[in-house]
Amino acid sequence: MANQKKDHRKERLDRGIKVRTDGVYAISHWTEMTYLLAPRALLIGGLLAAPLILSYFPYWQRVLSIICIYALLAIGFDFLANYVGLVSLGGGFYVGVGAYCAALLNSHLGLPPIVTVPLATLIGGIICTILFLPCLPLRGVYFAIVSLMFPLLAARIIEALNIFGGTDGIMGLDGFSSGWVEQYVLVCALLVSLFVLRRLVIEDVGLVFRGVKDNDQAVKASAINITTYKGIAVFISSALGCLGGATLAHIYNWAGLSQFGLDYSIIPIAATVVGGGGTLVGPVIGCILLVWLSEELRDLGTLRIAVYALVLTAFIVFKSEGIMNFATRKYQQFERWVHI
């Protein structure tokens, strides 16, 4: 170790995290409660306060909205990949479907955003799930490739058939009544999804999902239809993407082909790698970092992609476990110098 002193040695204690978080011990003293609650409070409080803090920087308020949309996609990706074993590159498809659903509901039926967003989430999720049903028996890289075809095909089909406004898209959609509504809808949706998903994966049904990923034969032999559970998981994941897409359509007052863009498929994966797969919170942190980084690098022009790629590579090489896994480990460890 580089910073080893003479006759001193670094000692590392792993706190009894199981006891500290599980038992009555966790609520035995305010320090224990703080230990558990502080990181959670930081995330929740930070996200809730962000629109207020950023109110002096309108540009960054919009960035916050984009972060939330990517984060919704990323937790959906993380859930599907690390808890159900389906690596989906269909993020662009979910966003596009959500955006077009919201746009059609708004332009044809005249429904306000506050109705179209939840409706598009639901309808979009159902559409995506039905279209993905034939692919559910596929595994691993085969599922990934087929799911990547969806956003590519959808854009080409809309273009070729000239439906839904063709290459122009659907314009003139209603916006949210104010920036506050836009940001708080997204921040709250993100926090609620995060809470619900983290809950879901530790419930009994979470074990069924993990079984589908780790040992689907045993799940089948346990009289459980794995296709049903894969379908439910795809619905959850795609509905999150559709929610993001629907808000996106109302933010830009427009639904168009670029919403089937590959950014929405790729960035959530990168964010999951950076943030730490399987943690659900990690991908949110990853999105904050990556979107912020890409905004900072905007001045670099084309070099931006190169720097971006370097940062990503560095993460994969040096911290492949991701920020969240690393931080959790460090938080639960205690290091000190001891005299030998």
Binding site: D204, V205, L207, V208, R210, G211, D214, N215, Q217, A218, V219, K220, A221, S222, A223, I224, N225, I226
Partner: protein, 260 residues
């Protein structure tokens, strides 16, 4: 015993490429039986189990369970009817406490319908039900074995865990694929009464083994497979005495006793 078979397999065949893994195998199991299926490695035992339980599609033949034609049904539907199986290669949730491995079967429609173990199937009590099942199958509750991570358990317990996963469904027929293999003598000795106990509780068993001594003790009928063909059937004594079986399965007569 009524004379309608619980499971009736007729003429099942399966080829993998050029390899004929099963050729026209038939068998019958009655309620309360313990049927043994033996055969050397690669003789098609696991393939037969897979074909019966729907994990592979058979090329020909029919499988009837409780008078229903379940040929090539999906595995989860077959399990839902009460026919379930253990796997030769076990893959439990190693990082989780042993009892958590039973949550998945207890989550199934069949387990819910049957109201859980001993009728106490309230929602949220799956953990308790799981621990009861493990106790039933020989995990000592007091020694906290059910709470230990599956990765820390010896093979004997893992085999029991695999069996417990089947029992959680309250099955009528369980097919055990080599539950005795890889066990020490003492582990095996404690497994035998367990199988008999299950039979007493009304569960019909098919035991697939290549270990013979234990099987001869508990099975009331045996079937011998070789190269996908059924080459013998009968009680333990009949099978042991059959010249054909001896030659095909044991190679030569002297070797019989080293196996048995």
């Amino acid at each position: 015993m009524n004379n309608k078979p619980l499971l009736k397999v007729e003429n099942v065949s399966k080829a993998f490429g050029g390899v004929l893994a099963l050729s026209g195998v038939s068998l019958e199991v009655h309620h309360g039986d313990i049927l043994g299926i033996i055969g050397p490695n690669g003789s098609g035992k696991t393939t037969l189990v897979n074909a019966i339980t729907g994990f592979i599609r058979s090329d020909r033949g029919t499988v009837l369970f409780k008078d229903r034609n379940i040929t090539n049904w999906p595995p989860h539907k077959i399990a839902d009817l009460g026919l379930t199986r253990t796997f030769q290669v076990m893959r439990p949730y190693y990082s989780l406490p042993a009892f958590k491995n039973l949550i998945v079967p207890l989550f199934s429609g069949r387990a819910r319908r049957s109201g859980g173990w001993r009728g106490g199937g309230k929602l949220g009590s799956r953990d308790t039900v799981a621990i009861d099942i493990l106790e039933e199958i020989g995990f000592e509750r007091d020694s906290y074995v059910p709470y230990k991570p599956a990765s820390s358990l010896p093979t004997g317990y893992l085999k029991r865990l695999e069996l417990a996963r089947c029992l959680a469904l309250r099955p009528e027929l369980v097919i055990c694929d080599e539950v005795f293999s890889g066990l020490s003598m003492s582990e095996m000795a404690s497994m035998v009464p367990l199988m008999e106990k299950l039979r007493m509780e009304g569960i019909t068993l098919i035991m697939v083994e290549h270990r013979l001594r234990e099987l001869f003790r508990i099975a009331n009928r045996l079937i011998v497979l070789n190269f996908g063909l059924k080459i013998g059937e009968g009680t333990s004594e009949e099978v042991m005495d059959s010249k054909e079986v001896k030659e095909a399965y044991f190679g030569s007569e002297e070797e019989v006793f080293s196996y048995v």
